[in-house]
């Protein structure tokens, strides 16, 4: 089961991204389906599918249903990024109406649930996950928020500076391991 985490600036430039593979087993029905499917259905894009076990289920589903039509096919890194960026529309709509920072399950795309966190300065944290885990994600977002504010205090950091600190990265990974 994987999680994809993105930090996007107010102008939608990606500042940080992380793919986190959880040790917890996936419980969604999608993965059961993917394991039952015959191997021919995955052969067309086996490389990308095995790389993203979560993404593979939807692709296979589409392939088998649509008779080889490549709907959502090639679920590669860029597809994940596209899903995250596409959810920005939904996020921006909700954040105008609601005054909470943590937006639970704000968008859905195939099996991906998109949750987001918007800081006061309009920085957006986006996470793509497959199973509902509201509390864990909430704790994770809180950790990420604190780490981000600390980063922002650096006078050399601007709203458009990609975050490359190794300490930041290891702390985010540690928190993801604990909570996701």
């Amino acid at each position: 089961m994987s999680h994809h985490i993105f930090i996007l600036s107010p102008t939608d430039t990606p500042l940080y991204s992380l793919t986190h593979y959880s040790s917890k087993p996936a419980q969604s029905a999608g993965s059961a389906l993917s394991s039952n499917l015959p191997s021919w259905s995955t052969s067309a894009f086996a490389g990308t599918l095995t790389a993203l076990s979560g993404a593979s289920s939807a692709t296979q589903h589409h392939t088998s249903a649509g008779g080889g039509v490549r709907m959502g096919g090639g679920q590669d890194r860029h597809v994940i990024q596209m899903i995250a960026n596409a959810s920005l529309d939904a996020i921006e709509e909700v954040m105008r109406r609601e005054n909470v920072m943590y937006l639970k399950s704000v968008d859905k795309f195939n099996e991906w649930i998109v949750s987001a966190f918007v800081t006061a300065g309009n920085m957006k944290f986006i996470i793509l996950h497959e199973t509902k885990n509201d509390d864990g994600i909430k704790v994770f977002f809180n950790d990420l928020w604190e780490l981000y504010v600390k980063t922002a205090m650096n006078p050399f950091h601007t709203a458009h500076t990609p975050i490359r600190s190794t300490v930041f990265d290891s702390r985010v990974r540690a928190s993801a391991k604990k909570n996701l």
Binding site: M95, V100, W145, E146, V149, K150, M153, P155
Partner: protein, 242 residues
């Protein structure tokens, strides 16, 4: 402005630690080119892979400087240097004000994130401000308190234009020690403050053009008005939210 202070502390600490660290074996072979190979050089010690000895920003608690204050005289000195530096590089008053605004913007971005984190991170469901008037109120009190140690003196709404709001400070601490030459009477060094306000509004999603104006009165010769001119889109959104 707590972060500026914190940064100074860090810098001081790293210099100290590097000088205590430095010994001959820490110097790179290149240093023998210099005439005094035993003098501790900051560059060489910084280059050594001893990251755990230098403090990093992620280990500092964000509330550490919550009640810390910066000396007014050192700030006045720093600010005067900022203005002199800027003035040498601009072509006129408007340009100078614009640059001060940009500098303030950098401060405002951080003030906003830090302040909201301090007040909201302990709550169960952290909130953002989505309505303009409460946001303006929080600038008037929270932001002013964090930056200047006191709330601003008044908020006014323009009678002529519905998109203009004003924050009035009778005696802005940052311009207390500045006297403007007569030929530059339009200049208001509170453009720095205007930049802070602009950044906070921008961050909260209320893009606006913020400028500072001198509006002296008999009792308050240093009275300054921060004029906020909101973008049309903000006004339209407020109408919809009503």
């Amino acid at each position: 402005m707590a972060y500026t202070q914190g940064n100074q502390q860090n810098a001081r600490f790293s210099v100290l630690s590097s000088s205590s660290l430095s010994s001959v074996e820490h110097l790179s072979p290149n240093s023998s080119r210099f005439s005094l190979p035993n003098t501790p050089s900051i560059n060489t010690t910084l280059g050594t892979p001893r990251p755990n000895l230098r403090p990093n920003i992620y280990d500092r608690h964000l509330n550490k400087t919550r009640t810390a204050e910066v000396s007014a005289s050192s700030f006045a000195y720093l600010f005067s240097e900022v203005i002199q530096y800027t003035q040498k590089r601009v072509s006129g008053i408007n340009d100078l004000e614009r640059r001060l605004n940009t500098l303030g913007y950098r401060v405002g971005m951080r003030v906003l994130e830090l302040n909201v984190w301090r007040s909201e991170s302990t709550s169960k469901a952290p909130k953002r401000e989505i309505k303009f008037l409460p946001a303006l109120m929080s600038i008037h009190t929270q932001v002013w308190k964090a930056v200047f140690g006191k709330p601003a003196d008044a908020i006014e709404k323009s009678v002529e234009n519905d998109d203009e709001y004003m924050i009035v400070d009778n005696d802005p601490p940052i311009t207390r020690n500045i006297s403007i030459p007569r030929d530059m009477s339009q200049l208001s060094c509170s453009s720095f403050t205007a930049g802070i306000v602009e950044a906070v509004l921008d961050g909260l999603g209320f893009p606006a053009r913020v400028t500072a104006h001198n509006t002296p009165s008999d009792t308050h010769p240093g009275r300054t008005t921060i004029l906020i001119k909101l973008e049309r889109s903000v006004i339209e959104r407020e109408e919809l939210l009503k």
